[in-house]
């Protein structure tokens, strides 16, 4: 039963990741690329779950939780910018920042939470003995930069207003703060004089 669940999670996760990455790479509407990147993020969660099912000590559960948090935060921040209407005049800083940070998180670049999620995911996949899956996940992460850059250059960012602006600000800040968390705690502990 367990091996069936593992196989299903791994197979579906891997397949979904390949399909979502190819779909995100196709030129098309900006919302569609981001949507497929979001789906790819969920496929990463499935791969992490598969690793957790295969080897409990692989850290797959932790990776799945971090990746899920990444997908939800990035999805929220990105969609708030994508679905808002662009303003005339200078581009909205909040919209542009939220959109860029969301893409970076989905691709796993620092200083976002996505980087740590990917590190945990790669570690879990390797721990489960699936080096090939780690390589696949890395290629998919790198490939996401292509639609990300295309979208960031081609389209004007939306300008969230009111509650949407507050939510976009909160989500963007969360993505960055969680990305910097290990290094912020470093500074805090050093200032507090806590022994290592």
């Amino acid at each position: 039963m367990s091996s069936l669940a593992t196989g299903l999670a791994l197979g579906m996760g891997g397949l979904l990741l390949v399909v979502a990455t190819f779909a995100a790479l196709r030129p098309g509407r900006r919302e569609a690329s981001f949507g497929w990147a979001f789906v790819g993020g969920l496929a990463f969660v499935m791969l992490a779950m598969a690793a957790a099912l295969r080897v409990e000590s692989s850290g797959g559960l932790r990776a799945a939780l971090w990746q899920l948090a990444t997908v939800l935060l990035a999805g929220g921040a990105g969609m708030l910018s994508l679905t808002s209407r662009p303003e005339s005049g200078p581009p909205s800083r909040l919209g542009a920042t939220g959109r860029m940070v969301a893409w970076l998180a989905l691709a796993g670049l620092p200083p976002t939470i996505g980087f740590h999620a990917k590190v945990f995911l790669y570690g879990a996949l390797l721990g489960a003995g699936w080096g090939w899956a780690m390589a696949l996940a890395m290629v998919a992460s790198g490939a996401l930069l292509v639609p990300a850059l295309g979208e960031l250059r081609a389209a004007r960012a939306g300008a969230p207003r009111g509650a949407a602006a507050a939510a976009a600000l909160l989500l963007t800040a969360a993505i960055l703060l969680l990305g910097l968390a290990p290094y912020l705690t470093l500074a805090a502990r050093a200032v507090g004089g806590e022994a290592g």
């Binding site: 691709a107 790198g142 250059r153």
Partner: protein
Amino acid sequence: MTLNLDAILLNWLLAFPFSAALMAALFPRFSLRPHSEAEAESLPRAPFALGALACLMGVSLSVSLLPAALRGTGAAADYWWTRDWYQLRFRADGFSVAEAMTLYLIGFLANLHLYGLPTPSQPHWRAAALLAATGGAAAAVLSADLVATVFFLGLALLSLWLLASLEAPQGADRMLVMGYGGVLLVLGGAMVMWRLAAGTSTEGLPLLLLTAPTAAVRLVAVLVLLGMIPLLAAAPAHSWLRALLRGDSRTALLIAAVLAPLAMSTALRLLPGTLPLSQMPGLATLSLALGLLSLWWAALSTRMARSIGQAVGWLVTAQAGQFLVALGVAANPIATAAVQRAALAVPAVQAVTAPLALIALWSATSSVLSRVGTDALAGLSGLWRRLPLSGLSFLLGGLSLAGVPPLPGFWAQGPLLGALLREGRWLLGALVLAADLLLVVGVLGVFRKAFLREREAPPLIPARRWLSPQLGMAGAALIVLAAMAGPLRAWGGAVAAHVLSLTP
């Protein structure tokens, strides 16, 4: 000796903007200036004091590590950052101690010339972000924490992309994609190491990997080395530098000079002891070929340099060439133990001598630029009588990098040449020696044109007060180090012996 590195890391991060300010001062024409002098004057002084304090603490901590560094035994460092977050601990070796000391001394010098914090104007802010990220990468390299190194390399790449986007968006995007590929490869290598450490370890990484299967170690080395190639290529490859610096592209050399030691540190940390050099497929041949190419190219280009800054840039490249040649010699499977030891001592000694020589050279360049208004050789002559300290500093730094005895650089090159000749590797020895001689000719040629040639001397601009003590300090440091040939050789020998003793 156990040391919490959190204070050191915090120190280094705090000190970095000040180091950036020093670079701006040393390279008035081709540095990414965080701000102008006028802007600096209007800034509050409190942050400067904080930075100065941070650097002083760093210097004190580094000096406290000196005994371990001289013994070559290394110091155990407890990186709680790594332990808490990624459940890994590594052990600092003697080389990291030397690195820490060099960096903190440079940071300390930076605080002698406090300028201020970056202005929020976009290009400068982005440049400052890049410098801060590079500083973070340096700190992470020091901590021997590969995941943290990857984090900061990625951050530096992103900052570079933001900066480059101002001038050349398409080139910047290509650079980001290519560089991220490199980041992922390095991360892949780090993940394999993490797995080899079984998630938790308190062992030093080199010791840890001694028990790893050869195939896994090869995989790690190949991934990391392949990953560093696009990362190193990413920085200087773009046209935004030229636009940002109004036509002067020498900053590319500056960034390469910053990145090269980082890559060298990583390579040194990974290669010796972590895996027998001879296990690396094709490493010896590749390293030797690239090293000889860099060395000869740099030697010929120094000879043909049209400005002092250009010559200094090529001397930096020559250093990288000498490092690669030494690595190639050490990695040769048929090399004897004596040759291996001499070759491995080269980068260890270089790590101490090259920064000092470069500070002397850059100080001399900066001095000529600020006093004459140009460093182009066509417009210079007869400076020896009017700027003797600059001339002396240039001569000492240049000849040291070329390996002329008794200057400190000789203690990196001399023993290697001696070992090669004793082993009967005449051709290689002759090639390296000839390149070194060509470098000497290049340095003397630049010196003659700028300082000795009798033509109408250009008028001098009033001096900035800090330049003379800086030149004096840089030159004096080289002379003092030349007098410490014994400890320097012992240090290089101890590092090499330590590295070789780790080979399974």
